[in-house]
Symmetry: C2
Amino acid sequence: MSKPSVAILGLGIMGSGMARRLLSANFPLAVYNRNREKSLPLAADGAFVADTPREAASRAQIILSMVADDTASRSVWLGETGALAGASPGSILIESSTLTVGWIQELAAKAAERGCRFLDAPVTGSKPQAASGELLFLVGGTADVIDATRPVFSVLSRDVIHMGPVGSGALMKLVNNFMCGVQAASFAEGLSLIDAAGLDRAKAIAILTGGAPGSGIVKRVAERVAAEDFTPVFALRWMAKDLGYALDGASGRGVSLPIASAALAMFRRAIAEGLGDEDFSAVTKSPAG
Amino acid sequence: MSKPSVAILGLGIMGSGMARRLLSANFPLAVYNRNREKSLPLAADGAFVADTPREAASRAQIILSMVADDTASRSVWLGETGALAGASPGSILIESSTLTVGWIQELAAKAAERGCRFLDAPVTGSKPQAASGELLFLVGGTADVIDATRPVFSVLSRDVIHMGPVGSGALMKLVNNFMCGVQAASFAEGLSLIDAAGLDRAKAIAILTGGAPGSGIVKRVAERVAAEDFTPVFALRWMAKDLGYALDGASGRGVSLPIASAALAMFRRAIAEGLGDEDFSAVTKSPAG
């Protein structure tokens, strides 16, 4: 079976890792990035570097976007030079960014108008999982479209979970991320109290990470705090964005998320203090109280 | 070296487990419980059943309290029939309940007036760890008193962590527990949104517990939700109490904990809905929104 041609739109940490995996597996690949510089190493390995999302899309049967937020996603898909204008009827559009459910549903409708198939397929996992093809895709859409995308998913992921109709993958990702944001911000609150009481931070952190609240996300934040290294892998402003998107999705369904709201307020304060471009674990540098 | 005599005040799940461990290791043991019924199985195994905390304390070199809250602690230690009145000068008083730092400091002062030594030594771990002697003690006090208590700690615990002066153990425990409460309540928020969006609960729970937010406490709540079993091991009203005590300790130090406050509001609403005596994981039954 010949490999489907693929376009990747957005070459941040995640998109680049995916593109490299696909090149290694000999998929015909076109790439687009707003800043063209990031495309060049992939060009050296055989990727076609497109000047516009439209051009990338016109060369691909499967078009995957991996960008920062709704605004960036609108800009790669829509307009004269956008990917929708270049996509052939019958091609599969995949939005793997973490976006609002509202925009996902709007985009799916536009894809259908053009005769394209659509999946929302955000991922869990970070840089190492993108590089090693061990992402977890949380997918909204229909089973036949997922099956048609398997050749690509199998190179990029350890598993693909079909959550339900279009928008279900996006919503699941937002729940996962708002819980991560809450846990990180709650750990920051804990550290504030530990510091205010004059307790030994290292002992306290070992107890919290080794005990019942010691999730993967809490451990990750704790490692950054211990190393005093807030170089961004997932920037604080993106965590704030995800909390905001989750709240948006919840309010549209009449669900209130008071804890996530409180966490968002902490991240927003950290952004106001100039920490938005640091790793989200820098929320621990923004003292409570 | 002969074993020190011990008194255990409070024979709930934790106190009973500790008492049984000490009996198995042949410590001379006196026990007191407000409801005398709970003492009887221990009497059959050789414990002296005291009629008052004072009587239990008068027979012991090391007196350990393990009760529900500040009110219960005041009632076992203070007054005519309280343990302080029975404690010999030089004996060691240990408060292992999860209490406010303010009351712990007041109690430590009263112990000093009486010529007794004092530790606040709350534990992490639950019924199985109490029964198997694998609790973790988080201790506030001085190193010499901890050393004098080692024979008892070594039978009850896998480790003893000296957090600092009196009150430090209590504060550390409150930070641990408020983070647990926040994570449980945040998981409840997540489930509300998952339900409102019509996603498959089992798939969603597997993703959350298997991923970055999947702490021990989140997994424990998820198991109860999956089994629809909210038989209390740690009652919801005790989680609310711990969140309230943490907020009390924080406000006394000028630290605000907005996320813990939002979680407390969720637990309080669950109590208002009649869920206070169920397991704290029943917070997931109190819909957000």
